[in-house]
């Protein structure tokens, strides 16, 4: 895997510097060196989406990204989302609608949803299913995940509209 080298990037708004193999997977660096285990490994080949994170706002599978590729970038994980009050309606919707059963796909589902809602505030069900098409869930049949996203989108769009009126 070559020599270890120092890679600097930002995770959830905080600067990190890790000494690691440049071709090591971002997923492993996040889970071990950075110590953020919310990002999960389901398949290791970009099929299941459990390791979805945002790199400079773009949704990627962290199992397919060599860490050297995120040097100087800003990475956001589910732990970063957890600090974001604006995303709270999404978390609540996942619990309320039973969008999270065993929970292993949930961090990835949340990241994919955030990426979708930044692009489109009020997506149709078809658009939600398309946007979550790269995130596999074996528990739910997706019904309640789609519902959770739909409800959260409505609430979050409403909150933004209110904020604009007040602002």
């Amino acid at each position: 895997m070559g020599e270890r080298t120092e890679v600097r990037f930002e995770v959830n708004g905080r600067e990190v510097a890790v000494k690691t193999w440049p071709m090591g997977r971002l997923l492993d660096v996040l889970r071990t060196e950075v110590g953020l285990t919310g990002t999960k490994e389901g398949c290791g080949e970009g099929e299941c989406g459990a390791c979805s994170v945002l790199v400079d706002g773009v949704l990627v599978n962290a199992c397919l990204v060599p860490v050297v590729q995120v040097a100087g970038c800003s990475v956001q994980t589910v732990e970063g989302l957890a600090e974001d009050a604006a995303v709270e309606p999404l978390r609540q919707a996942f619990v309320r609608a039973n969008g999270a059963q065993c929970g292993i796909c949930t961090p990835g589902m949340l990241m994919a949803t955030v990426a979708l809602l930044r692009e489109e505030a009020r997506p149709s069900d078809a658009r939600i299913r398309e946007a979550l098409g790269g995130n596999l869930c074996r528990c739910t049949g997706y019904v309640r995940i789609v519902q959770a996203v739909r409800e959260a989108a409505a609430e979050m769009a409403g909150a933004r509209a209110d904020a604009e009126v007040e602002g």
Partner: protein
């Protein structure tokens, strides 16, 4: 919506009023918060000081003699811990039902990917490298790779005849019924053969364990698992330790579906053997996806032959059924999977004469194991496909044939069990059909399909079925499950049970049951982490038994707390939650811990005879009718499920949203099994052990599954609840394949109906027609 149906609500979680009922309310999932913040701890998230990483060296062949194990002399082995069968401290055995499966192969291998050597090292990449530097020298032996070869028994790999288990179920006299019908022109005999393939559970969290093991301290494992006491039962004889020196702790578990019922005992054993050899350093053994898919258990492949005697006007007279499961190389759970499949093989129909001849056979495939439905989806696929074939032979509609024969109160099942539940299956079938707009769609599809040049053909299919809740026969009595409840000095109640939360909602359901039993707020109840050092054996988390059987024990244990407080005069007959808390404080002040226990006792009338296979196979059943609407593209031969309606009676619905979640998830797995999830075998090894080429449904492959409940309370379940977990796996495949036949006019009797299989079936049918 049809009258009398309760649609699974899409509403918001309601916070129950303090002291008010939480059963029936969609209270928030107990452990939901940790799962949406990334805080939930799964086994791979845990790191211990001085921890080693494990790896498994596996057989590359289906069957052979181990001649040598070669460690590359050019590789640095100095820091690698190596374990073989010779290192097993006591018995080289994974204890389950029969004692035939070693924890590490010794002298012979009996299936591809059987574990032979274990390795551990502080660096997880180094141990993976080390694995590639071990070469197993194996002299191949003739292998048995499918059901036909196993039954032919030219090569015998298990017992005298490759038969792991045989069951003969008989009701009435099938031979006499067929003989009496010979020459009658008002009856018809219809035959069919139906096959189902293996299916991977495909929980998204791969299997894994961490173990710490020393001769002095004993063995402790933490892992992803369904059944803590199964793992415990396997580790005790493997290490020759007293029971109290083996401890099994369940971590947050990322799905199971049966796949984490028995196989975790193997991984726990491996991790513990490595730690034992490494002087007690913690060892983490996590499978990657490819290893998980090729090495762990799958749903048993099956073949079912049906021969049915029926009157021309549709009265079922006799069913002669031959049911065979491929069990793989070791017995594991095949005997009980076969049992459940056998009992469900004649479907929910009134048939005076039934014979089911069942065998689970050994092959040199990795052992097949538990997967949601546990044999019933296989035999129900066969009978529900076969009924459509019978209907076609009689010129009846599938629904008319079923309506004529569905079980109702007072009828007897194939095991001679009298139905005492107030079921109305014809009505449930009508509801499902109305919800799916059956009649309207039938007309519309006929027009649609008749359009010249039409390339997308549409069809409708249904299945009516049942699924027994809890262990089969006397299983629950043998298990004698125990639950404890504890009240703290603050009046909080803790449920102590070995039943695991694996996503299905155990923590939430148990909390609802306990809080309602005691009249306390839902928020006042906690469920202890399953840990054999702290919780009693409430049995395995399998067989749709957690809510109905263990839930009832939770209710009784909780009431035991109240009874103790009342017996001591600390609590009145009527009380508020605050008074309950005060009573608990008073108890703790003078008497110490407040604990109550409950133990399973069979409800009256539940009697089963294992020798004759007669009696009450299950205390109660879930009943259902599912309808599928499909569109088949005759250019690509892809089948798309356009609408799916699931109507069922699971007794009282404790948590409508969770229950709907169970049905939706089960239906999705059923759709995958029916259409796309194909395990490709290459000399006994799974050739497509990756998510890239083993195709489970994505969000884009499924419609909005529509779920309805028709609750008929069961008197011996908590608040009237029955089981729900497995039922939804039974109906989708036959409903979908029946719909495919409706669309194309071509019978397909094997699943999965991949585009390739469907194209072949259609071409064959065309060739046969000339």
């Amino acid at each position: 919506m049809a009258a009398g149906l309760e649609e699974a609500p899409v509403g918001r979680a309601e916070r129950p009023p303090v002291g008010g009922p939480s059963i029936g309310a969609n209270v928030p999932r107990k452990e939901g918060r940790g799962k949406v913040t990334g805080a939930a701890r799964y086994v791979d998230d845990v790191v211990m000081d001085g921890m080693l990483y494990g790896a498994t060296v596996r057989s590359p062949v289906a069957r052979g003699r181990i001649v040598g194990v070669h460690y590359d002399p050019a590789f640095d082995w100095s820091e690698v811990v190596v374990v073989t069968a010779a290192d097993v401290p006591a018995r080289n055995l994974v204890t389950l039902i029969l004692e035939d499966q070693p924890v590490l192969a010794d002298g012979v291998v009996n299936h591809p990917e059987e574990a032979v050597v274990l390795l551990a090292h502080p660096d997880r990449w180094y141990v993976e490298e080390a694995r590639r530097h071990v070469r197993l020298e194996i002299e191949p032996l003739p292998a048995v790779l499918d059901i036909d070869a196993a039954l032919a028994a030219e090569t015998v790999i298990w017992g005298d005849d490759n038969v792991l288990k045989r069951i003969d179920l008989a009701k009435g006299d099938v031979d006499a019924a067929f003989a009496a019908a010979a020459g009658r022109d008002d009856v018809v005999v219809v035959e069919g053969v139906y096959e189902t393939g293996a299916q991977e559970q495909l929980y998204i969290e791969p299997q894994g364990m961490i173990a710490v093991a020393t001769p002095g301290q004993g063995v402790t494992v933490w892992g992803s698992l369904q059944c803590p006491y199964y793992v415990h039962k396997a580790l005790v004889p493997m290490f020759g330790l007293p029971e109290e020196q083996v401890r099994v702790v369940q971590m947050t578990t990322g799905g199971g579906f049966g796949g984490k019922e028995e196989y975790p005992s193997m991984i726990a054993g491996h991790a513990a053997l490595l730690s034992w050899k490494a002087g007690g350093r913690p060892v983490k053994l996590i499978y990657d996806r490819a290893e998980d898919m090729v090495a762990t258990t799958k749903r048993h492949p099956s073949r079912t032959r049906h021969r049915t005697l029926v009157t021309r006007d549709g009265e079922l007279l006799a069913m002669d059924i031959d049911f065979v499961l491929d069990g793989g190389a070791y017995a594991t759970l095949s005997a009980v999977v076969l049992s459940r499949g056998t009992i469900h093989a004649a479907g929910p129909y009134r048939v005076p004469h039934v014979r089911v001849t069942s065998r689970a056979v050994a092959t040199n495939l990795p052992p097949h194991g538990a997967f949601r439905g546990f044999g019933a989806p296989q035999s129900i696929f066969a009978v529900e496909r076969h009924l459509d074939k019978v209907a076609k032979a009689l010129g009846m509609t599938p629904e008319a044939l079923r309506r004529r024969n569905l079980l109702s109160e007072g009828d007897t099942t194939a095991t001679g069990q009298t139905v005492t539940e107030r079921i109305d299956l014809p009505r449930m079938m009508r509801m499902a059909m109305d919800e799916a707009r059956w009649d309207e769609r039938k007309r519309a599809y006929a027009e649609h399909n008749a359009v010249p040049g039409q390339t997308v053909l549409k069809g409708l299919g249904l299945a009516t079925f049942f699924h027994g809740s809890g262990f089969t026969g006397s299983g629950e009595s043998y298990l004698a499950s125990v639950v404890h409840a504890e009240a703290t000095a603050e009046g909080r109640v803790v449920v102590l049970a070995a039943s695991t939360e694996i996503g299905q909602g155990t923590n939430t359901i148990f909390s609802q049951v306990a809080s309602d039993a005691l009249g306390l707020p839902y928020e006042w109840v906690d469920v202890a982490q399953p840990d054999t050092a702290a919780v009693p054996d409430s049995g395995p988390t399998v067989a749709s038994r957690t809510t109905m059987v263990v839930g009832k024990l939770v209710e009784r244990a909780a009431l035991g707390l109240r009874d103790k407080l009342q017996a001591e005069g600390l609590l009145g007959r009527e009380y508020t939650p605050e008074q309950f808390a005060e009573a608990c404080a008073a108890w703790h002040a003078s008497r110490g811990r407040l604990l109550a226990a409950s133990e399973y006792k069979a409800p009256p009338g539940v009697v089963w005879d294992d020798a004759t296979y007669r009696g009450s196979a299950y205390g109660s059943y879930g009943w259902a009718c599912y309808v599928a609407a499909v569109a088949v593209d005759t250019v690509t031969w892809e089948t798309r499920v356009e609408d799916f309606v699931a109507v069922q009676d699971i007794g009282t619905v404790i948590h409508p949203v969770l229950a709907a979640g169970q049905v939706e998830g089960g239906v999705a797995q059923g759709i995958g099994w029916a259409l796309s999830e194909e395990v490709v075998w290459n000399d006994g090894r799974m050739a497509n052990g990756r998510m890239t080429n083993y195709i489970m449904p994505t969000a884009m492959d499924l419609p909005d599954l529509r779920v309805f409940f028709q609750p008929v309370p069961y008197e011996h379940g908590p608040a009237g609840a029955k089981g729900v977990g497995e039922l939804p796996m039974d109906g989708p495949a036959p409903a979908i394949v029946n719909a495919i036949e409706d669309a194309l006019g071509v019978a397909v009797d094997a699943i999965p109906v991949t585009p390739e299989r469907l194209m072949r079936a259609v071409k064959q049918a065309e060739a046969a027609r000339g």
